[in-house]
Symmetry: C2
Subunit: 276 residues, 2 copies
Amino acid sequence: MKIEHLISQIRKKKSFLCVGLDTDLDKIPKHLLKEEDPIFAFNKEIIDATHPYCVAYKPNIAFYEAYGLKGWRSLERTMEYLNTNHPELFTIADAKRGDIGNTSTRYAKAFFETLNFDSLTIAPYMGRDSVEPFLQFEDKHTILLALTSNKGAFDFQTKNVGAHELYKEVLTVSKTYKNSNRLMYVVGATKADYLKDVRNIIPDSFLLVPGVGAQGGSLEQVCQHGLNKDIGLLINSSRGILYASQGEDFAIMAQRQAKALQQHMEVELKRASLIA
Amino acid sequence: MKIEHLISQIRKKKSFLCVGLDTDLDKIPKHLLKEEDPIFAFNKEIIDATHPYCVAYKPNIAFYEAYGLKGWRSLERTMEYLNTNHPELFTIADAKRGDIGNTSTRYAKAFFETLNFDSLTIAPYMGRDSVEPFLQFEDKHTILLALTSNKGAFDFQTKNVGAHELYKEVLTVSKTYKNSNRLMYVVGATKADYLKDVRNIIPDSFLLVPGVGAQGGSLEQVCQHGLNKDIGLLINSSRGILYASQGEDFAIMAQRQAKALQQHMEVELKRASLIA
C-alpha cells in the first residue's frame, strides 16, 4: 500500500486507530470454541464490527505461532479475509523479526509476499544488513523498533551511546539505510514524553504507537507530541478492544471501544487542525 | 535438555558441531522436488547422514515461514523426526524473537512446547521483561544475541554504552535476569578476536557461534578464545554442509563436510586438553 493511500484513509475515517489482533483462545468467548477455526471466527467478527473505526489491523504473530500449524492457518485465513474484503485497510505483521541478509529476505517473503502484509515490525539490533532486505519491497513498509512500550526498554534503548540514547542512534543511523523512506518506527505510548525528541530526528515518518490502554499510555500526550502534517501516527489498541466483553456481545462491545477511540482521535485531529 | 547431557554428548562424539537447517527449495537437489514434502525429505536425509558427527540441529525459522503453512508443516515434521529418532540431539529454533512479556510467553510456548525445541534464539533490544518469560522454562535454553556475525553488528552492537560496548552491556545486564543460568549467547565467528572479552564477562556460558564457513570465520580462532572447561561452544555450519553438493550425492557430501568439521573439532578439543 502506498503511504498516500493510508493518509487518505485516515483523513476519510478521522481515525488513526490500529486494532491489534492478539487473539487468545483463553480469552475469546466460550461459544466460539465450537467453531472449526475459533481464532479466525473471532477475528472475522472483530473485523466486521470495528473496521468502520480503524485504518489498520495488526496480528501479533506470536499468538498464531503458539498454536502451530492451526495458528498459522488462522493467520492465513485472517489475511485472506482482510485482503479480499477490506483491501483499503493497512495490515501490520507484528513479528519483530530481523536476521542476517539472506534470512531477512526469507522473512520479507513470508510476510510481504506469502501472507501479503503491507508492513512488518523489525528489531534493529543486527543493524543495516538485517534491515535493508525488507526495504527492497516497493509499497511495503518496515516498522523498526525504536522505543518500546515495556519496562525493559530502559535496559538498553535509553542508555547513552556517545552523545545520545541508543533509540536515537537507531533512528539516526536507520535514516541512512537504502530506501529508508519505507521505514516507520515503533514508539511506545508509555514514553510519550520522548516523542518530541523522536520527532526532531524523524519529523516525517509514521510511528506505530502501542501501549495506549492496557499498558497505561495517554492518547492526548501521544497526539500532542507525535502528530505531524501527514498525521504520522498509528495508535494501536489490542486487549482493550478485543476483550471489552468475553460474552456473546463481544463484537458490539469491541465496536463501542473502537468507536470511542475513533471519536477521541477525531477531536485530536481537529485540535491539531489536521481535519476540518 | 539438561546442559550436562549436551556436554556429555559433545565429549562422546568429540564434536560441538551444530548443523543449521536453512533449507531452501531453490538450492536442494532437483530430484527431491517430486516428493510430497521436499523440505522434510531433504532434512531427513541430511539428519540421517550427519547425525554421527554433530550434537545439534538448528532450523532457521525464516526458511520455513517463507513457505507459509507448508513450510510450518515441514518444520513440525522435522522436529517430530528429530525428537522421535534422535532425542539425544540438542535442537535450536533460530527465530530471533523477543517482545513484551505476554507475547514472549506465546513465542516460548510455540517453540518450547508446541514444537518441543530445546532452545531458541532471542534478540535483546527490548530488555529484561522480553527475555525473562523464556527463562521460566526448565531444561530449555534461551540463546541471546550478543555479537552477531554480520557487518551490521557494527551499527549498534560495538558502539560504546558508557564504559564498554553495547554487546558487553547486553552480556552484563542479562546475567542479572531471573534464571540467567538458562542463557546461552550468540557470538559470531567472524568476530573471534572479541571472544576473549566475551569470556571475561561470561566464562561459563555456552556460546552459539555462526559464521564459520560461508561467512569466513575461523574455527581455530574461535576455539582458542572460546572454549571453556565444559567446552562451552556450539559451532554452526549451514550452507557449507547442506549444499556441499546439489546432486543426488548431496547427503554423502554433506556427511563428508560434517565429518571433516568434527575431526577438526576433535583436534581442537585435544589441543585444549578437554578430551583425552
